[in-house]
Amino acid sequence: MSRNYRPQGGGRMDAKQISRNRGNRYVALDPDIRSNYDDDDEPPTGGPPRRGHGGRNFLDRITGGVLNRRFDRNEHRDRQLVDSGSGFAKNAEVINKIRVKEGKKYDQTWLFKQISHQIEDFKPLLPTYNGRGDLEFFIKSSDTADAIRTISRRIVHRGSGDRIVFNVERATAPWQKLKRNEIDAINKVVDSRYNPEIHALDLKEFAMDKYFLDQDMHMMLNKNNVMLTVIDRIDEKYGAIAALNLSGNRLKILDYAAHLTSVAKFVKVLDISHNQIDSVEQLRKLHGLPISTLFLEGNPICESVNSATQYLSIVHDVFPKCSALDGNPVQPVATLPDLDEIELHKEPILRPGYYGPRGAREMIERFVMEYFESYDGEGGAVTRMRNLVAAYEEQKSQFTLAIMSLKDVGYVRYKDQTSHDIYIRQSHNILREDVWARYRSQRTVRGATAIAFALSKLPITKHYQESFMVDVSLVTTQLMAFTVQGLFEDGTIAKPEVNPEDVPTLNFFSRTFVVAPRGEGAMVIVSDMLYISAILPARLARYKIMLNKAATNPPCEQPLASTSTTSRTNEVTATGFTNEPSLEMKREMALQLSRETGMLPVWSEKCLSDQDWNMDRARQVFQEKRGMIPPEAFAVQL
């Protein structure tokens, strides 16, 4: 299998890059995953996929699976693309071509900015409009191209409400590939011309470099592939350069040099003097570079203007911040503030699950683990009936489920039809009330026995706990409400013996529990609401990206509350669900501690309050700090 036209790394890189683009914090969920990812040399199809029981890094396998399939197809296609051609095609590089349907309708700057918000490593090459008004551009990195594929139809154009559609295909690059030794030579010369002290790269009369001349290499910077290789090197090592000299390189067409705008974003000083640039149109391709000092003299464009004013206005049209032109100070143009850039309404960051007050997390995690242990597996029908009956409040508990797939491209079919049919007979989706209204009494299951029985009749499942996202939404003294969302398989699909080569076929669920305290650290379910949706591979990949993104941020420790609500804050956060006693109980506890320690009730109360109303801890702290407690704490009340 020839690999020479393939981007380095192989198929696994796809998933890797997607997650890396997002910061690769998936490790936070599962330390095993990094070791898997770090192994770049592992062939994409190396070893049988672990499925089912091992199951720890299943999301990667899924994403890897989805992307690997595409990759295999790529490889086949790439080969066809190359083989089909003449000798010329043998020299061609196969890269990714992105087509934005009717892209002419949208402002390119806006569109590219929206994509960059979603995809960190977005470096579009040679954007052009085809005859049908589609925007086309190339992306070298297959990983970035894959990421673009997953956000098709996600970006919404504000004016028209259109969803931007990205078509990603493999295509031969419009430039000819350089030989390895040529690339090495270019890199060597670029490296030798970098001045680290002033972050400047001097590529003046590039082709005339002694190194090239000695080896009789013709590396003119006006050749597309040379320019591209140079820019790749800049991207790789010198992305932070502040000054760039491209003078004396016979540059005329700047389509490839335009790539600098997404690679060298901090260039303030640019020397493009003594080239062949003859139109504003070409110069405008460098628009977006934050240039304050420009050298443009010695280009035909300078001859074509009638006056210094016109010359300056051309320059300012492209580089409005330019304050020095050809060595002379000039007045930069006044620009209007870009209102689109000013963000009054910022989207809050995506955080990991919120677990509410101290102590709640352990309880909920244990609950969730135990619940799904009983719920999942082939013995589910039995274990749900046997184990879960005790999990629900005997009389007052309720269970409902609703199934309706989240919208996606076209109709999203539920993978296991038999399972779907079972769920739909129980669905309590209020938006479809007319369909089930006459079965109303059966759509809400009430009481522990009835619920356990109903659950035992639902399809067998396998939930992937590493995909779970838990948020606690409400904690009072008498109840706690939290929602678990994540991925699972069901029906025959959940049976491990069915084609172990398959990657899991997943669905999305969210499950909201309202629980009441029952004894020491235990809780009983009062309300259970299950939502189920089919999910397509692109959304699956995005779900994973969402988890990664959330894991890069710290969880919310304390709810945001102003001082005016401090008392409420304390009630909810400092104490909790199980250990928050009633006022009367608190008084009782304070008196008890007072009796035991001789401390005044008010001091006893403070001590208890500091220890979250944990009597044992309060006693312990009293013993430890006895010597530090002021005497008035023990003053005898008359």
């Binding site: 929206q114 919404v156 309404h345 938006l431 009330e433 409400a481 009062v526 609401m529 509350a561």
Partner: protein, 136 residues
């Protein structure tokens, strides 16, 4: 109470609840998308919100937090709800509502799930707690 009377009562209760919940979600998402400045009236004074993991407490703070969110456009695909039996919890007429759908925020479409705990205050439904989370 006989079994059939119990079923009858429940059917009536569920009918009423579904009607109220439908009105509630219409009102809520309309306020969210078009009348953001009035959203505060839908929350109780002690309301809590957990928005993509960001926890906020107190009706005023919730309203302020929401007012600072970028423009939204919601579209629901599914709504489920349960009225918790009287006495099961201390919140009067506690109704749990779970919604799912799509939302466009800052020009990006996300699927989401949301959970509300509703209560009734002065004969009006109000949100005691709200949890919002992206699916993607």
């Amino acid at each position: 109470m006989t079994a059939s009377k119990d079923v009858e009562d429940f059917v009536k209760l569920d009918e009423d609840m579904c009607r109220d919940v439908k009105r509630f979600v219409d009102l809520f998402y309309d306020a969210m998308d078009r009348k953001r400045d009035k959203i505060g009236f839908l929350y109780t004074e002690d309301a809590t919100l957990v928005w993509n993991g960001n926890a906020i407490e107190g009706g005023e703070n919730v309203a302020k937090f929401i007012s600072q969110l970028p423009e939204t456009k919601h579209e629901l695909v599914c709504v489920d709800a349960q009225r918790l039996p009287e006495g099961a919890v201390e919140i009067p007429k506690a109704t749990i509502v779970v919604t799912t759908g799509d939302v466009i925020i800052k020009g990006i479409n996300h699927a989401f799930t949301q959970t509300f705990a509703l209560t009734v205050e002065d004969e009006k439904y109000k949100i005691r707690s709200d949890r919002f989370r992206y699916v993607d």
